[in-house]
C-alpha cells in the first residue's frame, strides 16, 4: 500500500479560529498519522491549545474541516461525500469517518474516539482512583445496564459488562503502577501519579486519538521518563495515535515521530524532529519574539538544543 493512498487518522484543513478581531489560528492544515506520536509545538500564545479545543469540540472553528478516519482504507472520495451530505459522521463496514467540527463534544469522545487531557489536572478528585477509570467507560456500561434498570435487577449482561470495565481499569492501573491505590480518592495521589492516572482515564474511553496538553508539565526527570515509557506503550500496543502539546523539548525530541510547529496561529514547519531542529524558520520563531519574552524564548531554545543533543543518545 502506498503512503499517498492512505488517509491519515486526523486531517485538519484550513482551520481558522477567530475570537472577535483576534485570529487565534490562521488557515492551519496538518495531519496526524496512525501509530505515530505527533507533537504540536510553538512559542506561548501560538494557538496550540486552541487547536486542541477545536479538535475536541470545545470551540466550533470559524472556518475549516477536521476529519478523523478510523480506517486507513478511507479515501478522499468518502470524505468529500460525507462533507457534502451534511451528516456529522458515517460508519459503514466498521470504517468510521467523522467530521469533528460538526460534532458535540461528548460525541467526539463516544463516537469518534478522541480523548484529551488538560494542562491542569481535571480528575474527579472526590471519586476513587478506580471509579475515575470506570466512569470513563460510562457509555458501554449504561447500554449494558439498560439505562440502570437492568443493572438494578442484576441482569447477567450487565454483570459481564461491569466485569469487563473493571478488568480494563485494572489493566491500566497495573500499567501506571497504581493498583495498590485503586480505592484511594484520586485527589490524594501525588502529582505525577495524577498525571498518569489522567492519561489512563483517557485511555479507558478506548480512543483512537489521544490529545495530551503538556503531559510532562511539572514532572520531575524520573516521572518524565515514566511518562515517555507510558506514551510509547500506548502508541505501540493500543492502536492509539497521540497528538501532544509539549514545552519540554527533551520529551518532544525523544518520543515524537512527527512535529508541527505553530507561530501566531500559523504553521511554520512540519516534519521529523531532525528536520525541525535544523529549520531556520523554527529557530527564528523561538528567537524573534517581543523583547520581554526573549529570555523565555532563549531558555526554550536551549532546551530545544539540549533536547536534541541528548534525545538521540537516550
Amino acid at each position: 500500500m502506498s503512503m499517498q493512498a492512505e488517509m491519515p487518522l486526523l486531517v485538519v484543513e484550513h482551520l481558522t479560529m477567530r475570537f472577535g478581531g483576534l485570529v487565534a489560528i490562521d488557515d492551519l492544515s496538518f495531519a496526524a498519522h496512525r501509530g505515530e506520536i505527533t507533537a504540536l509545538i510553538g512559542p506561548n500564545g501560538a494557538g496550540k491549545t486552541t487547536v486542541f479545543n477545536c479538535i475536541t469540540g470545545f470551540y466550533k472553528p470559524t472556518v475549516g474541516r477536521i476529519a478523523l478516519a478510523h480506517d486507513a482504507t478511507t479515501t478522499q472520495t468518502d470524505l468529500d461525500r460525507l462533507t457534502n451530505s451534511g451528516d456529522r459522521w458515517r460508519k459503514a463496514d466498521g470504517r468510521g469517518l467523522y467530521l469533528l467540527e460538526r460534532m458535540p463534544d461528548y460525541e467526539i469522545t463516544a463516537k469518534a474516539k478522541v480523548a484529551r487531557t488538560f494542562q491542569n489536572i481535571r480528575l474527579f478528585t472526590g471519586m476513587t482512583v478506580l471509579e475515575n477509570l470506570i466512569v470513563a467507560q460510562h457509555n458501554a456500561l449504561m447500554r449494558a445496564s439498560g439505562w440502570t434498570v437492568l443493572g438494578l435487577v442484576g441482569a447477567r449482561r450487565f454483570k459481564e459488562a461491569e466485569r469487563a470495565a473493571v478488568e480494563r481499569a485494572t489493566f491500566w492501573l497495573d500499567l501506571i503502577g497504581l493498583t495498590l491505590r485503586a480505592d484511594d480518592p484520586a485527589g490524594d495521589l501525588p502529582y505525577g501519579d495524577q498525571r498518569r492516572l489522567e492519561i489512563a482515564r483517557a485511555m479507558c474511553t478506548g480512543p483512537r486519538l489521544l490529545c495530551l496538553d503538556e503531559p510532562a508539565a511539572g514532572l520531575n526527570p524520573k516521572e518524565s521518563l515514566e511518562l515517555n515509557t507510558l506514551l510509547r506503550a500506548i502508541r505501540d500496543d493500543h492502536d492509539t495515535a497521540i497528538l501532544l502539546i509539549e514545552h519540554d523539548m527533551s520529551v518532544v525530541m525523544e518520543i515524537s515521530d512527527h512535529v508541527v510547529v505553530l507561530e501566531h496561529g500559523a504553521k511554520i514547519s512540519d516534519g521529523t524532529p531532525s528536520h525541525i531542529k535544523n529549520d531556520p524558520a523554527v529557530i527564528a520563531a523561538y528567537l524573534g519574539v517581543d523583547e520581554d519574552e526573549e529570555e523565555a524564548a532563549e531558555a526554550e531554545i536551549e532546551g530545544l538544543q539540549s533536547g536534541l543533543d541528548h534525545g538521540g543518545a537516550r
Binding site: T56, F58, P104, D105, Y106, T109, A110, A115, R116, F118, N120, R122, F124, T125, G126, M127, E131, I134, V135, A136, H138, N139, L141, M142, S145, W147, T148, G151, L152, R201, A202, T205
Partner: protein
C-alpha cells in the same frame, strides 16, 4: 419522657418528608448550580396527582384494599411527576443553559408561579381532601407513660428509608450515579469522557421529582388535605434543609430535613406553635454563621 418521644416521632415523620424534597434541591444544585424554585410546586403537584389517582383507583378497586391502591398511587405518581419535571427542565431550564446565572433562576420562579396557578385554575382554590387513610396506631408502654406510633407514620418511615437506600445505591454504585457525580464535579470533563451531560441533567431532574412525588404521596397520607399553595412552605423548608445540611450533599439533605422537622415539632410542643418557623429558620441562620457550607457540605475550594 413519653411526651418527648412522641414529639420525636412526629418530628421524624415531618423530617422524612422534608428530606425527600430536599434531595431534589440539592441534586439539581450540585449538578447545574441552580436553585430549582419550582421544586416545591412539583411536590405540591405530585400531591394532587396522588389525590386524583387515589380517588380514581379506590373507586375502581372498591374494597380491594388500601395497600394495593397506595402502591399504585406511588408508582404512577412517581412516573407522572417525573414526566412533569422532565418537561419543565426541557422547556424552562435547558434553553437557558449557558446564559447568565440568574436567567434559569428567574425562569424557575416563573415555573413555580405557573405550577401553583395552573393547579389553582384546574383544581380550584380550596383545600382538597381524601378520606383518612390508615387510621390505626400502635401504643407503646414506657414506664408509667405511653406514646403512639400511627400506622401511617410507620409507612412514611418505611417508604422513606427504602427509597433513600435505593437512591443511595443508584448514586454510589451504578453507572448512572457515577456519571451524575462526575457531572457534578466537572461537567466539561465528564462530556469529554463521553457522558451526555444534558441527558444526565434530565435524569437528575427526573430522580429528584420522583423522590418529591413520594414526599407528595406521604404528605397526603399524613394530612389528608392538599391545597394549590402547599408547595411554597414545605418547598422553602426543604430548601432550608438542603442548605442546613450543606447544599450539594445528599446525606446532608436528609440530615437537614430531619433536623428541620425535629426542630419545628419540638419547638411547637414545648414553646409556641406560632413561632415554629421562626425557630427553624433561626437555627439555620445560626448554623450558617458558624458553618457557612452547612453541616456536611464541602467548603468551596478555589480552583487554580
Amino acid at each position: 419522657m413519653d411526651y418527648f418521644i412522641q414529639q420525636m416521632i412526629n418530628g421524624l415523620t415531618l423530617g422524612s418528608i422534608y428530606g425527600l424534597i430536599a434531595i431534589g434541591y440539592t441534586m439539581v444544585y450540585g449538578i447545574i448550580g441552580m436553585i430549582n424554585f419550582a421544586h416545591g410546586d412539583v411536590f405540591m403537584l405530585s400531591s394532587f396527582i396522588a389525590l386524583i389517582l387515589l380517588v380514581l383507583i379506590s373507586s375502581a378497586l372498591g374494597a380491594l384494599g388500601i395497600g394495593i391502591a397506595l402502591v399504585l398511587v406511588l408508582v404512577i405518581g412517581m412516573a407522572l411527576t417525573s414526566l412533569w419535571s422532565f418537561v419543565i427542565e426541557r422547556v424552562a431550564y435547558r434553553p437557558l443553559r449557558g446564559s447568565f446565572r440568574l436567567a434559569p433562576l428567574i425562569s424557575a420562579i416563573g415555573m413555580s408561579i405557573f405550577l401553583s396557578n395552573f393547579v389553582q385554575v384546574v383544581q380550584g382554590p380550596n383545600n382538597r381532601s381524601v378520606p383518612p387513610l390508615l387510621q390505626g396506631y400502635l401504643t407503646v408502654q414506657l414506664g408509667d407513660g405511653s406514646f403512639t406510633i400511627a400506622y401511617k407514620q410507620m409507612l412514611i418511615f418505611l417508604v422513606t428509608a427504602v427509597l433513600l437506600a435505593g437512591f443511595w445505591f443508584v448514586v454510589q454504585k451504578t453507572s448512572l450515579g457515577r456519571s451524575m457525580r462526575a457531572c457534578e464535579q466537572d461537567r466539561k470533563m465528564a462530556s469529554l469522557l463521553g457522558i451526555d451531560v444534558d441527558r444526565t441533567i434530565s435524569l437528575t431532574f427526573v430522580i429528584g421529582a420522583a423522590l418529591a412525588a413520594v414526599a407528595g404521596v406521604m404528605y397526603l397520607v399524613q394530612y389528608n388535605v392538599v391545597n394549590f399553595a402547599d408547595g411554597f412552605v414545605p418547598g422553602v423548608k426543604a430548601f432550608t434543609a438542603a442548605v442546613l445540611g450543606g447544599i450539594g450533599s445528599l446525606p446532608g439533605a436528609v440530615l437537614g430535613g430531619i433536623l428541620i422537622g425535629l426542630i419545628e415539632t419540638i419547638w411547637s410542643a414545648y414553646f409556641s406553635i406560632d413561632y415554629k418557623d421562626v425557630a427553624a429558620f433561626s437555627i439555620l441562620a445560626i448554623t450558617l454563621i458558624f458553618m457557612p457550607s452547612g453541616l456536611l457540605g464541602r467548603p468551596d475550594v478555589e480552583k487554580v
